[in-house]
Symmetry: C2
Amino acid sequence: LYLTETEIKKIINMELALNSVEEAFQLIALGDAVTKPRERLPVGSSSLNYMSAGIDKQNLTGLKVYVPSKNGTKFYFHIMNALNGEMIAIMEANALGQFRTGAASGVASKYLAKKDSKKVLLIGTGYQAYTQALALDRVFELDEIYVYSRAEENRMNFINNYSSAMKSKLTPVADIESNVNNIDIISVITNSKTPVINSEIIESGVHINAAGSNHSLRRELDTKTILKADKIFVDDIDQAKMECGDLIYPESLGLIQWRNIINFSDVLKFPDRFKRNFKDITIFESQGLALWDLVTAINVCEIAKTKGIGEKINA
Amino acid sequence: LYLTETEIKKIINMELALNSVEEAFQLIALGDAVTKPRERLPVGSSSLNYMSAGIDKQNLTGLKVYVPSKNGTKFYFHIMNALNGEMIAIMEANALGQFRTGAASGVASKYLAKKDSKKVLLIGTGYQAYTQALALDRVFELDEIYVYSRAEENRMNFINNYSSAMKSKLTPVADIESNVNNIDIISVITNSKTPVINSEIIESGVHINAAGSNHSLRRELDTKTILKADKIFVDDIDQAKMECGDLIYPESLGLIQWRNIINFSDVLKFPDRFKRNFKDITIFESQGLALWDLVTAINVCEIAKTKGIGEKINA
């Protein structure tokens, strides 16, 4: 089965993505799934990137593959049968990736942020920002999402494009430091090389999703913010050690230790152990797991088959 | 472009494969290509396997992916554009893999074995054996290929199936130790867990291709054979350290050192340095490089496009 972006966009929605990513974390918590960090093979001026995952009981395995490109990266995802080795589906996976990345911040916030969170600050209005906002809009009964981007044009475009899709009110902010108070959740989704959040804006009780970086040389949160956090969660500790610049940098200075960083799946495994204290500052560092893609892709494919969507290859 | 096994079998031949694998080694020697060892992700009772390669100047990159299965593994190969990230081709890659594996032993033997080699001993008659024999049949003016397999039925089937495709005479042998003399090249292509070659049959001047194993726990050559060799070559030293049981085992005992193992591409880089002494015993340990697949796949695709073979996906 071959599924194009257009076909997948007809099927995918945030509810499906949120359920899929939560299912993925549950599978990790149960020990029934495996996910392998991204590999990068440098070629010419770019690189081939790939990451994989598998689900034991379903005997399904998947591989995400892409070459980052300044003119728009194209992601592909493959689902394979782990019993007989058959290729089940080849999917164009840009929307898939956007929805699962947003959903991951949504699921993390559902478990880590205040249950009655009302105010969100979104930092970044690029390729991945919409699904970050949408996930929180669906998980919580929000009042307002403040939208920050350095360029006013980007802020306004974002609000014009996406206001109608949200239950929450979208409000542009020109300056994070002075214009925003009583934020419950901050989602940072940038491709910054230097930290975009200044620790001084971080108030007690806030939960932060840092979802923009997946490279050790990129950072979104400054060291003071990392040190201010009461608990820091990652999607996968092995991948974080390779890719999470926000943590790799302070760890290299001896300011934090990997043994104090928590795999988010442990929150599902031991729900009582990680209950939020009201004033806790929590951080979810999201590098992105191939298992999120795999579970979401499986669920998308089921619907595609039911609806007869997609092209059969070599039929 | 999607190419099936049937379509690829119409295009591929040993000459194309030999040229492709030699081109691949030349690219490594020139520093113009990169190849990354196999990764294995355990899923259920099997695993997802993948390995990648790239060619800088052509801006092409490729990924081989498969799930080993007792009922017949299906290999897939993807070619991607490393500039814009477009998927160029998805190919069913069993024949591709068989031809490039055979061709690698052919190319290694061309440079490492005696130029006037006349007698070959083929050990193993399974899935990969035919192309091992065919490659040597094409590279040398052989008199005879002795074919050994434990089961008489397998030996005879191999000879009945493939005699007509070879210039050389195929002769079954029931017993390696006593029936075979003056062998110039031995190709071992088994999936044995314990060594199949006994060092006593190894005479001076022989070149050995050990191409069957790609797992650290599998061995084809016993330690005495390894120690008897004057020079040992590998397709890629990084991959050999992970997968080459024939070398990993004696190295773990301190009997050999990795620094004495030679990357085969160095033979193309420094042709004078590795000239054969007449009585040398040489070994080529072949784990299999994704770059062989990539160059061969590119050459197959060129022909497919010219001939209008293959299915266009999402056209």
